[in-house]
């Protein structure tokens, strides 16, 4: 074999110099030119795929070769990329190589050629490149249809932050095409006559369903969807554990979502076994432990998407990662007042390995007991030292006993212990009153503290034992929650036993002894002062055999019945401080101190009285009313705006009666009555002025702003009646229909004098009006036409009937009041004339008048063929004013009569201005 290799190398070395020699001498390229070069396009990956062969290899051995590749775009001379590809070649081997284009291949024709060179160490230098192969064309455009617009690539999956090149091909050069990334206009560069390219730099994630890029001209928009993926993160917190030594569960934090519908894949590799599994979840993976238990695992988690591959590794010991399942079926068993047995079960681990379970007992949310129990399948533990009638919660969690790593999830169960008999005797006191010599005893007891009730107190038993008649025994049952009862006795000596009962039994008895006779009440009352803490008091023991002392008082001495309070004290105690939240300042409290004998008999020891805080300083006045029949009393000399408290209490020779509640009284303001004396007259005066003004308002109205005269009530009507004209009508302004407004311009600097000179229209030619039409006017209407003179004077009905109206020029400065009263025809005509003459007065040059022109009233509208011989000058048009119809006879004098100027104007249209 070695001999064969040596021979082969020798042959090769002998052959190659020969070929080199041939090449140099004959000027021919080495016959190692790549052949059968084929270029194809992969549109999905935007790759040019090259395949070729090298047929010229004469021997059967491999030869290392370098292929130099050139790629051109649009035309062969436009080389855009050149690179080398080295590989080992066999004879007749089909070689493959791909090149990814940043520009979509559909948008440009590509050309590829290559040449080769032997790069084998076995071949000595010098080495020569072969001749270039012929250009091979890759033309994706030829397969396109006849759409006017194409956008490439079709869809694109890219990673956030990368660059993307998009192009379009437009068949119609005339079409103005705009391209948008979503709704943002994007600018590109022209690559060819009909090809434009757009480079999108650093693309960012837009939405999960992709980012639209589209181009539109006149036709249908074409586009693509860019699916932008966020960068795949490396899994974090990768760890594994087992719950049963049969299955491993590895978990990790995958990081932020890549934002694509196509999720990255997660694969778990184990190097020792060489196994792998494709994970079904993006943050968790299960791994089956084999029958032959493998204790150590070397896991590699590989996260992979289209762009990236991320991996993390851990070394995991199976025994060190046991996380048991939570125990189940936790129940209390045999629960009594002080004990309970808790039972539970656990899931077996491996071959029934032991678990360490922790049992916790919680009371009022706090752990009060904690016990560790070793369990294989069933757990049990007796809880002791429990309180009767108490709510508890038991909680259990377990861990792998062989190697503690982590507690399981816990399971909990509530239970309540049973009741026990109350542990303490009720605190009992008595109040003894004698009615007709017979003692009536009211027994009081305090509710037991919860720690002593040991259950719900159902009732209290009161046993009355007559010490003088041992056979006499009276039993009373007082249902809870009563705290007192009354017993009537005779003059014997008694012992009364009180017990509290719950469902479990009675409490120890509390005993009081009652003598059948009143005790010594003649004890001197001592005084004392209260402090912030209460009433401090002390006493002197009378007997050495006292079993204790009781201090008794009423919380609200002023209220009846007295709320009796007492305090038990030990036999060695000779002083205490009595405090109560019910104590109030200014209230006198009486305390009685009893000594309890060995026979449970109470003997009054001392009386004390005092105030918690005396309020005498705040009493400013104290009046004594001697007459018991007097029911009213006036307190004088009080301060204004002050608050006083009054209390009336009876008194006898023995002293004052109980103090009742005070009544609050606020004295009024000192000046309020003075103000009252001032304000009332002022209000009266204002009212008088207002009434006077009201009464005078009509007079004021008549003087200042009289009513506008009503044409129907005008005095002109009386004249009409006087003439007995049957054609009397009143013109309503609403009947007039406005048609056009004329704006009259006068050339600046020119003044037109009309006074006394009846100039013809030709002489006033320079004042041609400008019109602002409100309604369409006749086309050939050359002048403003006759205008209605709307003013507050009479309207010539005859003129109106003739389809003509007077055209009265006015000066804007002329106030309406210059018209004067129209109380007679003469005055009316005079006024018209005066107004007309005024309108012919001097009009400032350059001043424009806005006049109203009525088409309806114009004779032009009805008689286009006969325009007026003397069309009125626009300056002579009047402004809009109120008017009323005037009977023909009044306005128009008979023909031939030497009529006034105004009458002529009204009757003869030809002389209008």
């Amino acid at each position: 074999m070695a001999l064969f290799a040596v021979l082969q190398t020798t042959f090769l070395l002998a052959l190659l110099p020969l070929r080199t020699y041939q090449s140099e001498v004959l000027s021919e390229p080495l016959p190692l030119t790549p052949e059968s070069l084929n270029v194809s396009i992969n549109s999905t990956k935007q790759c040019l795929h090259l395949q070729w062969t090298v047929h010229s290899l004469d021997y059967h051995q491999e030869l290392k070769m370098v292929f130099q590749i050139q790629i051109s775009r649009f035309k062969a001379s436009n080389v855009i990329w050149m690179g080398n590809y080295s590989t080992t070649v066999k004879r007749n081997q089909v070689l493959h190589w791909s090149w990814e284009s940043e520009l979509p291949l559909e948008c440009a024709m590509h050309f590829v050629r290559m040449r080769t060179m032997v790069d084998d160490a076995r071949i000595p230098a010098p080495r020569f490149w072969s001749n270039w192969s012929s250009w091979e064309k890759a033309d994706a455009q030829s397969s396109l249809g006849d759409q006017p617009l194409y956008v490439f690539p079709k869809d694109k999956l890219v990673e956030e932050g990368s660059d993307v090149t998009i192009c379009y091909i437009s068949r119609n050069h005339q079409d103005n095409i705009s391209c948008y990334l979503e709704d943002e206009l994007t600018y590109g560069k022209q690559l060819d006559q009909n090809v434009w390219a757009f480079e999108l730099k650093n693309v960012s994630f837009f939405r999960k369903s992709g980012t639209n890029f589209y181009c539109k001209g006149r036709g249908i928009p074409e586009g693509l969807v860019l699916f932008v993926s966020k960068v795949l993160e490396e899994p974090k917190d990768f760890s594994c554990e087992t719950r049963d030594l049969k299955t491993l569960t590895c978990t990790w934090d995958p990081g932020k979502d890549t934002g694509l519908i196509q999720l990255p894949s997660y694969t778990l590799f184990e190097s020792f076994s060489g196994k792998k599994t494709l994970c079904k979840h993006r943050n968790r993976c299960d791994w089956q432990v084999t029958q032959d238990p493998q204790e150590t695992y070397n896991f590699t988690l590989v996260a992979e998407n289209y762009f990236r591959k991320r991996s993390v590794n851990i070394l995991f010991n199976l025994i060190h990662g046991v996380h048991p399942m939570a125990p189940y079926n936790l129940f209390p068993k045999n629960v009594n007042a002080t004990h309970a047995t808790m039972t539970w079960k656990v899931y077996s681990i491996g071959n029934n390995s032991a678990l360490l379970c922790q049992l916790q007992l919680l009371g009022e949310g706090k752990v009060i007991q904690q016990h560790n129990v070793s369990v294989r399948v069933n757990g049990e533990y007796l809880l002791s030292e429990l309180e009767p009638d108490t709510d508890y919660m038991a909680r259990v969690c377990c861990a792998y006993a062989d190697h503690f790593w982590k507690w399981s999830e816990s399971i909990s169960q509530k239970f309540t212990t049973g009741e026990a008999a109350p542990s303490e005797a009720p605190d009992v006191w008595r109040d003894v009153t004698f009615v007709s010599g017979h003692p009536t005893v009211t027994l009081f007891w305090k509710p037991l503290a919860k720690v002593h009730t040991n259950g719900k107190i159902l009732f209290y038993n009161v046993v009355v034992e007559n010490l003088d008649e041992p056979s006499s025994l009276e039993v009373l049952s007082v249902p809870a929650p009563a705290n007192s009862t009354k017993v009537t006795l005779n003059q014997s000596s008694y012992q009364i036993h009180v017990t509290a009962h719950n469902s479990a039994g009675p409490s120890p008895a509390s005993t009081v002894a009652i003598s059948g006779h009143p005790g010594n009440e003649n004890v001197e009352e001592g005084r004392m002062n209260g402090t912030e803490d209460g009433f401090p008091m002390s006493w002197k023991p009378q007997s050495r055999n006292a079993t204790g002392y009781v201090v008794e008082w009423c919380d609200g001495p002023q209220n009846l019945p007295c709320i009796l309070r007492w305090k038990n004290l030990g036999p060695t105690t000779t002083g205490t401080v009595i405090s109560s939240g019910a104590f109030r300042p200014g209230v006198r409290y009486n305390f009685r101190i009893y000594e309890i004998s060995t026979k449970r008999m109470a003997h009054l020891l001392e009386k004390k009285a005092g105030y918690l805080e005396e309020l005498d300083n705040s009493v400013c006045c104290k009046y004594t009313i001697d007459n018991p029949d007097e029911k009213t009393f006036v307190v004088k000399a009080l301060q204004p705006e002050s608050v006083y408290e009054f209390l009336v209490t009876p008194y006898t020779s023995a002293g004052e009666g109980p103090l009742d509640d005070f009544t609050k009284v606020t004295t009024p303001d000192e000046y309020s009555h003075i103000l009252l004396h001032i304000i009332l007259p002022m209000i009266f005066c204002v009212l008088v002025v207002m009434i006077t003004c009201y009464l005078k308002s009509q007079w004021l109205k008549d003087k200042c702003y009289p009513d506008i005269p009503d044409p129907y009530k005008s005095s002109v009507l009386s004249l009409i009646k006087f003439k007995e004209n049957p054609h009397i009508t009143i013109m309503n302004v609403n009947d007039c229909v406005p048609d056009a407004i004329e704006v009259v311009n006068k050339p600046e600097g020119s003044k037109t004098q009309f006074i006394g000179t009846r100039k013809s229209p030709t002489e006033t030619k320079g004042t041609k009006p400008t019109y602002l039409d409100l309604l369409p006017t006749e086309k050939n209407y050359s002048g403003p036409g006759p205008c209605i003179c709307f003013e507050n004077f009479t309207y010539n009905r005859a003129a109106s009937d003739l389809g003509y109206c007077g055209h009265f020029p006015v000066t804007p400065q002329a106030p309406p009041c210059q018209l004067g009263p129209l109380t007679s025809p003469e005055n009316l005509l005079k006024t018209l004339e005066q107004n007309y003459m005024n309108s012919l007065g001097e009009i400032p040059a350059g001043e424009a008048n806005l006049n109203y022109v009525s088409q309806l009233a114009s004779p032009m509208s009805g008689d286009k063929e006969s325009p007026p011989t003397n069309p009125p000058e626009p300056a002579l048009c009047s402004e809009y004013k109120m008017q009323m119809a005037l009977p023909l006879g009044l306005a128009s004098p008979p023909p031939g009569e030497d009529s006034s100027l105004s009458s002529t104007t009204l009757s003869d249209p030809s002389q209008r201005h």
């Binding site: 079709k154 979503e182 939405r207 369903s209 980012t211 639209n212 928009p221 693509l224 699916f227 519908i261």
Partner: protein, 164 residues
């Protein structure tokens, strides 16, 4: 049904991004050859016999039920989490299919020939890219709205005509 069709079109366009969600978006040049035609002038449609119009309407809604299924599949790939759009498409598909079935029942009652129920849908254009599939869904829903309006009017006419 017309209101639901209008709502479906609005929902669909809102979910496709620009330019589809542009309030002025309309592309009358977009069409699908596999969809029932919408270019028949109203006068010609109105002049057709009732039986012919019934048949055309039945065929149209059967076709729409299949095209809406296609649009639903396309959108499932693009918006797998968008239950509102997908449920509206599914509802429209079921209504189109239901109406086609009802019309077939009417035609049978009138002794009119009905087309085979399960005529398969061939290759539908505009499926090469995600953008084209968005366009395809738009055209399907737009034309479905046109045929819904036409069907409601036509069935109203029939009801008036035959209830007299």
């Amino acid at each position: 049904m017309q209101m639901q069709t209008s709502t479906l079109l609005q929902t669909y366009l809102q979910h496709q991004g620009s330019p589809f969600n542009d309030p002025r978006f309309s592309s009358s040049g977009l069409s699908l050859t596999t969809l029932p035609p919408t270019d028949m002038p109203f006068e010609i449609w109105h002049g057709l016999e009732d039986g012919v119009r019934l048949s055309l309407t039945q065929e149209a809604f059967w076709s729409f039920s299949q095209h809406l299924q296609l649009a639903e599949t396309d959108q499932m790939a693009l918006h797998p989490d968008d239950f509102i759009l997908l449920s509206q498409l599914e509802e429209a598909r079921l209504k189109a299919k239901g109406l086609a079935g009802n019309l077939a029942g009417i035609m049978t009652a009138l002794d009119l020939p009905t087309p085979p129920a399960n005529s398969p849908l061939g290759t539908v254009p505009l499926g090469d890219s995600a953008f084209q599939r968005k366009c395809r869904g738009y055209v399907i829903i737009r034309d479905y709205g046109f045929w819904t309006d036409r069907a409601v009017t036509f069935l109203g006419e029939l009801k008036t005509k035959y209830s007299e």
